[in-house]
């Protein structure tokens, strides 16, 4: 047996022991294959009575939130039984505790939104956490026209209901949602230079946040929406700056000869993590949002880390590891430690639940958005695509 199975095997042994002690699920359902793929086995559930689009949506939503749909013969703990005639409804039962967790019906909106709501009800009833089914993401789409031009899109997290929010025919990059608001920062070359703008999606108003000489790139809204971090080269090197949400009150936080990139905030707003180089090696680092020394974040075995994103619960940082022509999504504890490879891909963004990641990877010559449940490592591409899609940002 290869050594790479040793640790997950130890986890499997621990889980089997725990299960036996609790007298809970059948041991044969906790298979080695499942635990090797993630640190946590999926929650088993049966669906009954659903068809068509409602069934497809329920299955996708539950899968990317760490559930596995199985047949009744596998005697899972949970069963969702219902129908989707003129409304999507369901009754969730717990076979172990012999209880009905809920009976709900959703009407109005579309079949998809009703099914998303039911999936979220299941997720919340079982895990205690809010589901993210049907939440929104923003991303960049390269239209294929010459010069790398594209547009910024907003869609449901599964790619449905995608809408272009720009129509500039310019190079665009790195959208970043303002938390709690329907507004996006992004980088656009519409005015002949890489500039950062703030776009209010409700009013359609756009304002220039940074249009200094040099390149103004990689905006990241602070968790309270009052500040924005960005990489500006106006001082002679791509450095990290912070400003008020409208770009006023600019402060420089790094002053290095190296190129900083991809800032992201800690959820308490106190730190900004970014990619840089120290002692000749590509690393992740952080600096206080008030200013101060740059501190390296150790990510052992995470080669050439870039594009970090800090989980909303503050515990983990996801990032892209670049190794030759391979890109891999990794996570590392926020205080530093050993990195874990999760899946091939680039540019991870955390969902509000701190367990689902959206990222992009190459499929058939173009970039496709994909969802990953980090604890179970269950991964599925979004079912609806819009051309070459990358650089996703999850609305919070």
């Amino acid at each position: 047996m290869s050594l790479s199975l040793v640790r997950p095997l130890l986890t499997a042994v621990a889980l089997l022991t725990l299960a036996a002690a609790l007298g809970a699920q059948d041991d044969e359902h906790i298979t080695i294959k499942e635990t090797v793929t993630g640190t946590v086995p999926p929650i088993l559930i049966t669906l009954a009575g659903y068809s068509g689009e409602a069934a497809t949506v329920l299955k996708f939503d539950l899968y990317v939130s760490g559930f596995k749909i199985v047949g009744e013969s596998e005697s899972p703990q949970y069963e969702l039984k219902g129908a989707n005639n003129d409304q999507v409804e369901g009754r969730l039962t717990d076979a172990i505790n012999k209880s009905v967790k809920f009976a709900k019906a959703f009407s109005g909106g579309t079949t998809r939104s009703q099914a998303h709501a039911l999936a979220n009800a299941v997720i919340e009833a079982v895990t205690g956490a809010h589901g993210v089914a049907g939440t929104k993401v923003a991303f960049k789409v390269k239209t294929g026209a010459a010069g790398g031009v594209g547009e910024i899109y907003v869609a449901d997290y599964d790619g449905y209901n995608a809408t272009a929010v720009t129509h500039d025919g310019a190079i665009v990059a790195s959208p970043s949602w303002v938390p709690g608001r329907r507004a996006l920062y992004y980088n656009t070359y519409k005015f002949g230079n890489p500039d950062i703008i703030l776009h209010d999606l409700n009013t359609g108003t756009r304002s220039v946040v940074a249009r200094y000489g040099g390149s103004n790139i990689s905006p990241a809204a602070s968790p309270d929406g009052r500040q924005v971090a960005m990489i500006l080269s106006k001082g002679g090197s791509p450095d990290l700056y912070v400003a008020n949400a409208d770009g006023s009150g600019l402060r420089q936080l790094t002053r290095t000869k190296e190129d900083e990139s991809s800032p992201c905030w800690s959820p308490d707003g106190r730190w900004i993590c970014f990619a840089t180089r120290m002692d000749g090696r590509r690393v992740l680092a952080k600096v206080s949002a008030e200013g101060g020394p740059i501190q390296r974040i150790t990510a052992n075995l995470g080669i050439n880390p870039t594009e970090p994103d800090w989980s909303p619960d503050g515990k983990q940082i996801a990032f892209t590891s670049q190794a030759g022509k391979f890109f891999r999504i990794c996570v590392v504890p926020a205080q530093g430690g050993d990195a874990r490879i999760l899946v091939d891909g680039e540019d991870p963004a955390w969902a509000p639940n701190s367990r689902t990641l959206i990222f992009n990877h190459m499929v058939g010559g173009r970039q496709v958005l994909s969802l990953l449940d980090v604890p179970t490592k269950q991964n599925k591409d979004v079912p609806q695509t819009v051309g070459d899609s990358s650089q996703p940002s999850w609305a919070k």
């Binding site: 230079n193 890489p194 390149s215 080269s233 001082g235 290095t256 990139s261 991809s262 020394p293 030759g324």
Partner: protein, 217 residues
């Protein structure tokens, strides 16, 4: 410690270190990106030294030869006054309305090594040719575009492309061009000249391009 215990601890330690290679993908053919090649450092002094932020500022990058460009007849600035990247850039407003001429310096496109922003000595004459033209055409300004090959992530490449453009700007400022005449921007990997996925294609794409900016008519 008893020998048997010591050996078992040693074996356990080795097993542990082997197990924890979680992120080192066992795939063969994975090439580790070498550290970016920068010039062997002359000791920095003055404003080039550590400017705070807890980060050692790498020294000025004059090229692999480690020597300064020699044709500095018009340059009266002492070396220590040249900031990294040529220092602060001017306002974008200063070039709005100027006419770009992308052909004028088409023959002076500078190429870079992988993951590097070092201006190689083989490229110096091209940059100096641009500098010579700018000295003659005093009413013009310059935009330097930095580009990358596809082997980095989008945002990494956007910053690296800028670093390349800035390295060229710094060279020109040292050469005697007023910094307020020279602007930079990065296109990351957005605009390859060769869409191929070969070493040849990638080598062509890692470049800095000079765009002459002509005053409004």
């Amino acid at each position: 410690m008893k020998r048997a215990t010591f050996l078992s601890v040693l074996v356990a330690g080795m097993a542990l270190s082997l197990v924890s290679t979680g992120c080192k993908h066992p795939n063969v053919g994975v090439t580790t990106i070498p550290a970016a090649r920068t010039a062997p450092p002359p000791k920095p002094s003055g404003p080039l030294a550590n400017q705070g932020g807890g980060q050692n500022v790498a020294p000025v990058n004059p090229g692999p030869s480690g020597t300064m460009p020699t044709n500095e007849t018009a340059n009266t600035k002492p070396m220590t006054d040249i900031q990294p990247g040529g220092g602060e850039q001017g306002n974008i407003g200063d070039i709005e309305g100027m006419t770009p001429d992308t052909n004028h310096f088409a023959g002076q496109t500078v190429h870079f090594d992988f993951d590097s922003f070092v201006v190689k000595s083989s490229e110096h004459s091209k940059v100096e040719a641009v500098g010579d033209e700018l000295k003659v055409k005093a009413e013009t300004k310059l935009m330097i575009d930095g580009h990358c090959d596809e082997r980095g992530t989008e945002e990494y490449n956007r910053a690296l492309g800028e670093r390349r453009a800035l390295a060229l700007r710094e060279y020109l400022v040292r050469y005697g061009i007023a910094p307020e005449r020279v602007f930079t921007r990065s296109f990351g990997e957005d605009q390859p000249v060769d869409p191929g996925h070969t070493d040849e294609a990638w080598a062509k794409n890692r470049r800095g391009e000079f765009i002459l900016l002509l005053p409004k008519q």
